[in-house]
Amino acid sequence: MTQINITVDGVTYVDQVEPRLLLVHYLRDVLGKTGTPIGCDTSNCGTCTVLMDGVSVKSCSVLAVQADGTEITTIEGLANGEWHPLQKAFHEEHALQCGYCTPGMILASADLLRDNPHPTDEQIRDGLEGNLCRCTGYEHIVRAVRRAAQAGAGQ
């Protein structure tokens, strides 16, 4: 077992974990932060995307021990008193149906807008290539990211 010191959604945790424990399982099974779901086992789908020190990572492809000393933001910690502009935009533009990909899609979008606060539609599509959605055909997701960008989400 290895000790890790990790901040998740503003709360600091110190835990003993198996070195092989995936970050996403640490979040879900150890901390009970089930807002981050799992959609595959080969890091293709992006469902489990979280921000690690502000940068998007697929939490199925990070070991909990690799996250030692970092600050993690999940979908549960994104709102700050009120919904994040991306959460609002996904709701307004109907950018989710079953909602399973949504946490990862929103956090990947947050990182995309951090890199490029005013992306073109093509840049949005390319930027979200690593996040799969089976319900929406992405049309409304692109609109939502565009709307969030206009609302200053990437500033």
Binding site: E18, R20, L21, H25, R28, D29, G32, K33, T34, G35, T36, P37, I38, G39, C40, D41, T42, N44, C45, T47, T74, I75, E76, L78, A79, W83, Q87, F90, H91, E92, H94, L96, Q97, C98, G99, Y100, C101, T102, P103, I106, D121, I124, R125, D126, L128, E129, G130, N131, L132, C133, R134, C135, T136, G137, Y138, E139, H140, I141, V142
Partner: protein, 791 residues
């Protein structure tokens, strides 16, 4: 040109933002895998690495002795109680339905079939212990090609052979239609095997308390599942509660009674502990039922002016190794759809269901109708090419004119409404059809190496499954009704209980809109309850684009009964005879400005102090609606592709969809359904295929091998609607599958249209760059073999 039903009040047709979203965008969802119960154990399955083998031994003793492992079982350990997974659709009297034990006991028949299970304190320990289970196999010959599976010398999947059934339908004089027909076209099309890939993998939790079991499952069908567990596994129905919490997509794949669900129930009973099982994606690609997988032989006879004389369809359908819930019925849902929107006097259909040593197939978005639509829309393009006319012209020559509705087709279905002229005209306008045609001619003339293709799909579908008596006539094992209940709360708020079971469709929002209009109560005052058999005790669940056309109508019926009951009490409150009381916009009124709101009636009913003699003190009502017909959405989809003849790369340049789904409840939700449906149909056309190797191993076990379209692969879709209301009180038809049914032929027609000047008339799906390039090389007489290429 189009008729628009005026919504009675404000809610119908309003782009309400969804009630569901708040929990979904904040991570407060209740996916089945989120559930943690005290003492809960985790399951992991040992699965067959062979496509076909006799099990000679299963030794679980080493696994049982590992730390953290509570139990390990083989199929033999449950042989007495695990029974056989049900098939609810014995399509013919002599259909072969082989026994399908949830855990194999004697023989395995596909890679991934469960043979043993570990029960451990956590998921890592359970997975680790799998390696300690020793299974002996005696490999048998796999059966991998349905085209040769009926040969005399073929190995057999089951002792009874490889044929499950043959189902036929015919109407009209087909011989006369083909005899001396000036044009006869015959084609063979391949519907490749697909993997549904809902984003949420399957998950199940089972917990017994005393004699009662609660089963949480990522399922589309909590009610059907409850019935099946009672009917086929000997647990009293009243002791079973099934909960479908938030469910992350289904597309038919969660319309199933699965081995893992049944085993979770049985194992948790035996151990007296709650158990959870959550599949990995790799496990799911192997063992979630697959879709499509048919060979289609279609023949069309026409007059020289393009008028269709007759159509004949001969299908081979791969059942996989077993018949699951509706496996054999899927091709039948297509049988009535091959004639599409076209008039003809003769039609015949034959389907042979064949066993192979692969994962069973079953319903996948559209289920039978995408296959039918693909074949008819592809061959209509071939007819146009044969005659040298525009593909839309030959379609218009044959389609049912809007003034001819209701129209009874050669299949005996009565299409209640439609306006193909209107949808097509609108689609052409949005697409810039004539301009694109001109550009194509110009680029072809100058020999552009990137070819422009224009693809057409004028589709219809039958949905709103289904009139119970029709299902009965097709030997289906259940009815097609839907149930709804309305609970009028004392404070004037409303609880709506629905038997439909949403998994992304937005019923909490759309149902609120319907009830708000019917009862005249605010949208915000309504809460929709679903997906728990203890809360919503009766239902037929969600699939086949049925929820609105059937479940929505059940809501209307339940609201009618609430209003009728309330009217009696309101008349007493208004001191007027019931027949003089009018109800509109949430108010009961008589002349002279005297009125009382439905909320005031609710409170008065709750108090029950001054109710008329003999009146029940309740407004609560329920209603079960059985439709008397299917609904028939239709539309015209147009696709423009750029096909690079040097690389085989296909790029969708533009895509226009004009759908007629009748009256729209929520246009935002409708657009989302259409977009997602189109994307899935494009996936079949360009990217997706479940591939087995020569030994029957699934090669596409991951999302790196089984390609779902990403945002970067798809264009922005242009969508619009025309409206010809359906013949039900809401005028609604259904929209869940339309996009998927329409888009696959639109895309492939566009690719073939681009390459037809090179002499190419088909590309086998998925139209990957390699296949397109090989088809081009073959057509040019190049060195590439036609392996998977041109037909």
């Amino acid at each position: 040109m189009t008729t628009t039903a005026q919504p009675p009040t404000a809610e119908l047709g309003k782009a309400r933002r969804r009630k569901e979203d708040a929990r979904l965008v904040t991570g407060q969802t209740t996916w089945t895998d989120n559930l943690v119960l005290p003492g809960m154990l985790h399951l992991a399955f040992v699965r067959s690495p062979y496509a076909h083998a006799r099990i000679t031994s299963v030794d679980v003793s080493a696994a049982r002795s590992l730390p953290g492992v509570v139990a390990a079982f083989s199929g033999a350990d449950f042989a007495e109680e695990q029974g056989s997974l049900p098939c609810a659709w014995p399509v013919t009297p002599d259909i072969v339905i082989p026994a399908h034990p949830p855990m194999a006991v004697e023989e395995v028949r596909y890679v991934g079939e469960a043979v043993a299970v570990v029960v451990a304190r956590d998921r890592y320990t359970a997975a680790d212990a799998l390696a300690s289970i020793d299974v002996g196999y005696d490999p048998l010959e796999p059966v991998l090609d349905m085209r040769t599976a009926l040969d005399e010398n073929s190995p057999k999947v089951h002792e009874s052979g490889n044929k499950s059934y043959e189902w036929v339908f015919a109407n009209g004089d087909l011989d006369a239609a083909f005899r001396d027909a000036p044009v006869v076209i015959e084609r063979n099309y391949r519907q490749q095997r697909l993997i549904p890939c809902a984003m949420e993998p399957r998950a199940v939790v089972s917990s017994w308390i005393g004699d009662d079991v609660t089963l949480w499952s990522a399922t589309q069908i909590p009610h059907v599942l409850r019935f099946a567990i009672a009917a086929f596994f000997g647990i009293p129905e009243q002791s079973i509660r099934v909960i479908a919490p938030d469910v992350g997509g289904g597309f038919g794949s969660k319309l199933q009674v699965t081995a893992e669900e049944v085993l979770a129930v049985l194992i948790s009973r035996r151990l007296g502990k709650p158990v959870k099982w959550t599949e990995s994606r790799s496990e799911g690609n192997m063992t979630v039922h697959h879709g499509r997988d048919q060979w289609q032989r279609i023949r069309l006879a026409a007059d020289s002016d393009g008028g269709i004389r007759g159509l004949s369809v001969d299908l081979l359908a791969d059942m996989g190794a077993y018949l699951m819930l509706v496996t054999p019925g899927v091709p039948l849902l297509g049988a009535f759809m091959y004639p599409g929107i076209y008039k003809m006097d003769a039609y015949s259909f034959r389907c042979t269901g064949i066993f192979t040593t692969k994962m069973p197939t079953d319903a996948y978005r559209g289920a039978g109708r995408p296959e039918a639509t693909f074949a008819i829309e592809r061959i209509m393009d071939e007819l146009a090419a044969e005659l040298g006319v525009d593909p839309l012209e030959v379609r218009e020559r044959n389609w049912i004119k809007h003034e001819e509705f209701p129209y009874t087709t050669v299949c005996g279905l009565t299409y209640d409404s439609g306006n193909y002229e209107a949808a097509t005209a609108r689609a052409k306008e949005l697409f810039g059809y004539e301009d694109l045609k001109a550009e194509q001619a110009e680029r072809n003339a100058r020999g552009d190496s990137v070819r422009l293709g224009i693809g057409v799909s004028t589709f219809t579908e039958m949905c709103g499954l289904a009139p119970s008596r029709v299902l009965g006539s097709l030997s289906y094992g259940a009815g097609g009704w839907e149930h709804a209940a309305i609970r009028m709360l004392p404070t004037g708020k409303v609880e709506v209980v629905t038997g439909s079971s949403a998994h992304g469709q937005g019923h909490e929002t759309a149902w609120s809109q319907i009830v708000a209009d019917q009862l005249g109560v605010p949208f915000e005052d309504i809460r929709v309850l679903h997906g728990d058999t203890q809360v919503a005790p009766k239902g037929m669940d969600t699939y086949g684009s049925r929820s609105l056309a059937v479940g929505g109508m059940a809501l209307v019926g339940a609201c009618d009964k609430v209003i009728a009951k309330a009217k009696v009490i309101a008349s007493a409150m208004l001191e007027a005879p019931p027949e003089s009381v009018e109800f509109a916009a949430g108010k009961f009124s008589v002349g002279g400005g005297k009125e009382v709101s439905i909320q005031e009636v609710s409170l008065a009913t709750f108090a029950a102090h001054n109710l008329p003699e003999g009146v029940e003190p309740s407004l609560d009502s329920d209603y079960t609606y059985d439709p008397d017909n299917f609904s028939f959405p239709h539309g015209t989809h147009l696709c423009a592709t750029e096909v690079d003849t040097e690389t085989g790369m296909v790029k969708i340049r533009s895509y226009v969809a004009v759908d007629d789904i009748g009256q729209v409840v929520n246009p935002l939700i409708v657009d989302g359904q259409v977009h997602g449906g189109i994307a899935q149909g494009i996936g079949q056309a360009l990217y997706e295929e479940a591939v087995y190797d020569d030994a029957g191993n699934l090669l596409t076990t991951t999302l790196a091998d089984y390609l779902l379209p990403s945002a970067a692969d798809l264009p922005s879709f242009v969508t619009d609607r025309t409206v010809s209301p359906a013949a039900n009180r809401l005028g609604v038809k259904g929209v869940g599958e339309a996009g998927t049914i329409a888009s696959t032929p639109a895309v492939v027609n566009a690719i073939v249209d681009a390459l037809r000047p090179l002499g190419i008339r088909d590309i086998t799906m998925p139209c990957t760059p390699e296949r397109v390039w090989r088809a081009i090389e073959t057509a040019r007489g190049g060195a590439a073999s036609s392996n998977g290429g041109a037909a």
